[in-house]
Symmetry: C2
């Protein structure tokens, strides 16, 4: 059994270059192991400097997408251009030319997944996207193949290596966010413009994809509450650590009684939580299935060859003919389907970490806990530190009033038992209305490990 | 697209019962999500008491395998009988009747994988075995699908939940092996006869399967060095812990320069090693691929519904028609292939933990380190504890000679730098020949995290 797959690779940057090299280096090995012969016929890019620098064969380099698409021997087009403009056009062109497409483009899928799926199905070709979530981790396959016997209860992912690298540095080296970001940029773990990573946008793309696969319907990107890590204070990382928590940027999609909660947010998790040890630029995704319980998938979520690993495994599955069948059975991005019913974000119940900024005057702690009590919020722990340093303005004690702020605020850290988020936020409004409490309370959820086997009991 | 799969389930014990229930409960959901309708037509067992206790429909219960195999509507037979006798016969019968087979039977595959593969291929049916390694974790799929773009460098697994539960108890509660085993039996995590688990045999079955998939050729079970956990001393767990290590039963298959090392053994791993946090009855398997680097897969390695999750996902893949194609492309258990070339066990290079039992007399430490030096073994650390309690016989200091042993031995713990195992074992022979050194030195390997990207550099 030998099958030859003619390939056109479009976009020769970091991932494209690594994919081309992998296709070359592993061609014989892959043919030997799987029976599929991967014939890279074109590398298409407007700028071929990098392709030449890698020493890729001149005969397959071209600036002409048309040339590649019109070759009847090409059956798979790899889209590694990125972005949601030309990438989309070229994928639709490839479909129209009867080619399967492999992409690593999470943004494009998160925005236009249903439209692209419909176009592929109409053209009777397949769109493969293992590389779009979790880099080289075969997580997309877990949803469409490995865990098909399960109703999925929950997905929790650390899916942005840049953020995880920055947070790991903050945790391990007591760095501020700005210091850690600069370090990440110097080490090549963060882009010069890191905004899409650190603002949580990239994680939102991935949870939009994984959540749709897990729960069977499209999740419009604009319905996902997203909070990034740029405002995270070193002090909170420290205080959380003292209480046995580490902070991670968590993208989650969790089935609740009345719908699904999907969000991206920095959250505290206990140090013995299965995601707590995931450090540096690695990714990990926990999936809770009704039958299998907790499963977790770990690996490099970005980078040239890890992403190329996912891209090439998709091409092999297309060559074997297995993925086209699996793709046909995928219905979660059917544009005729109603988007997934998401719960009101405020309806979520969980524990929280609060850091209030309060003037250090007698009675304040009592007044605050009274407001919490009136709002039926049960306190788990309270921690008032001695003032490490002034936190509001250039504050010195015993300076005269005319010098500006004359009293420092102290951080009061409170952890709650499980509480409805809307109830908590309303209580914080009441607390911040107290005379000695400053605005800008830090609110971070505390995620306990998700319970297994919520639905099936055997 | 709707496909109906007629199923005969043979062997209704813990996993069989859970599989039957899962097939019932998830039938509509699976048909809706995948287009495959799973029609459980027969539950075959000589003793149907448990099936009746679960309330499974009387109309599908039968003692007659022949009845099930002769039904032309049955296309998939699930073998959950266990063992290597009747299970093998029934699988061959099922193949002869033109049925695909799904099995969770690691022992059978480890002993007879090549023969069963050949029989399936001859009958033009498929043998699916996701449930044979790592329970519900989709690890078998990682090898035949998710990581196909990679040459596999190494596999390290914690693949026996009973052992991992016992070791976790020893670590966390300072228990002895016997105490932890009894606790595991009481909690249902160990069988009344736990020998196949604790002697490493079950782990050997799984690494024989995963190693063959990873490296492309059969691994005869009797070529794998196997050491279990039954002789592990609480003292070593404690001493290792003091040095920052945890002990795990590790099944590994690692590509070396001249061949592959495959073994099962208790080993120390650093506390920040990616497998160190895997506690209790969970399993985890690390796979290092040439392109993807380190990936890891975690979940429940045993138990009714987790294993059923893997079994049912295999049936769905058979129903879709994807697995038969993937099975055809699998060649690692081709009986015409030479078994995998394994390196001489003694050729392996790594770090070691030694605990010597030595009479507490002046000069002994010097004599021991001299022997190590003469054998070109470089010492990383030495730890001589004050005697916690007598370790050899009922020893009391200052008792008269006629009372028996009059001097206690002290445990001297030495960790080495990387050394060839055969060289180390020969040095230990020399050391145990010294006058004051007792036999029975504890030797445990220290496994550092495997390096990523040994072969491909981009």
């Amino acid at each position: 059994m030998k099958m030859t797959v003619g390939i056109a690779l479009v976009g020769c940057g970091t991932v494209g270059g690594a994919t081309a090299l992998l296709l070359q280096e592993q061609r014989d090995s892959i043919r030997f192991r799987t029976g599929v012969d991967l014939d890279l016929r074109y590398i298409v890019d407007k700028n071929l400097t990098y392709a030449r620098k890698l020493g890729l064969s001149e005969s397959i380099l071209t600036e002409s997408l048309e040339k590649a698409l019109s070759d009847s021997k090409v059956s798979v087009v790899i889209e590694l251009v990125g972005g949601t403009g030309f990438a989309k056009t070229l994928i639709l062109q490839a479909f129209a030319a009867g080619k399967h497409v492999v992409t690593a483009n999470k943004a494009l899928l998160a925005y236009h997944g249903p439209e692209l799926f419909a176009a592929a199905k109409k053209a009777e070709v397949a769109l493969a996207f293992e590389a779009s979530c979790g880099g080289g981790i075969p997580i997309v396959r877990a949803f469409y193949d490995g865990l098909t016997a399960n109703t999925i209860d929950a997905v929790y992912g650390i899916v942005n290596g840049t953020c995880n690298h920055i947070l790991s540095e903050m945790i391990q080296k007591d760095s501020t966010y700005d210091e850690a970001l600069k370090g990440a940029q110097a080490a090549g773990f963060a882009e010069a413009d890191p905004s899409l990573d650190v603002n949580g946008g990239d994680s939102a793309h991935k949870i939009a994809i994984m959540g749709a696969m897990a729960f069977g319907s499209p999740i419009p990107l604009d319905t996902i509450p997203v909070k990034g890590i740029a405002n995270l204070e070193a002090e909170d990382v420290l205080f959380g650590g003292e209480m046995g928590y580490v902070v991670k940027l968590i993208a989650s999609a969790v089935r609740g009684k009345k719908g699904v909660f999907v969000r991206v947010e920095p959250a505290f998790i206990p140090m013995d939580h299965p995601l707590a040890w995931v450090s540096g630029s690695f990714n990990a995704i926990s999936v809770y299935g009704s039958a299998v319980g907790h499963t977790m998938y770990y690996g490099r979520g970005a980078g040239g060859t890890p992403t190329a690993s996912a891209v090439v495994s998709d091409i092999i599955s297309l060559g074997l003919g297995t993925y086209p069948v699996q793709f046909k059975s995928m219905d979660f991005w059917n544009p005729d389907k109603k988007p997934l019913k998401l719960q009101e974000p405020g309806d979520i119940h969980r524990r929280y970490y609060l850091k209030l900024r309060v003037l250090d005057r007698p009675g304040n702690l009592g007044r605050i806990t009274t407001v919490l009590g009136e709002n039926a919020i049960s306190v788990s722990s309270i921690l008032q530190h001695e003032i490490p340093e002034a936190t509001d303005g250039e504050v010195l004690e015993n300076t005269p009033p005319e010098a500006g702020v004359i009293e420092p605020t102290v951080p009061i850290v409170i952890t709650t038992h499980r509480v409805k988020e809307s109830q908590l936020l309303s209580a914080i409004e009441d607390i911040e209305a107290l005379e000695d409490v400053y605005p800008g309370t830090t609110v971070l959820p505390i995620l306990e490990e998700h319970p297994e086997f919520r639905y099936l009991n055997t």
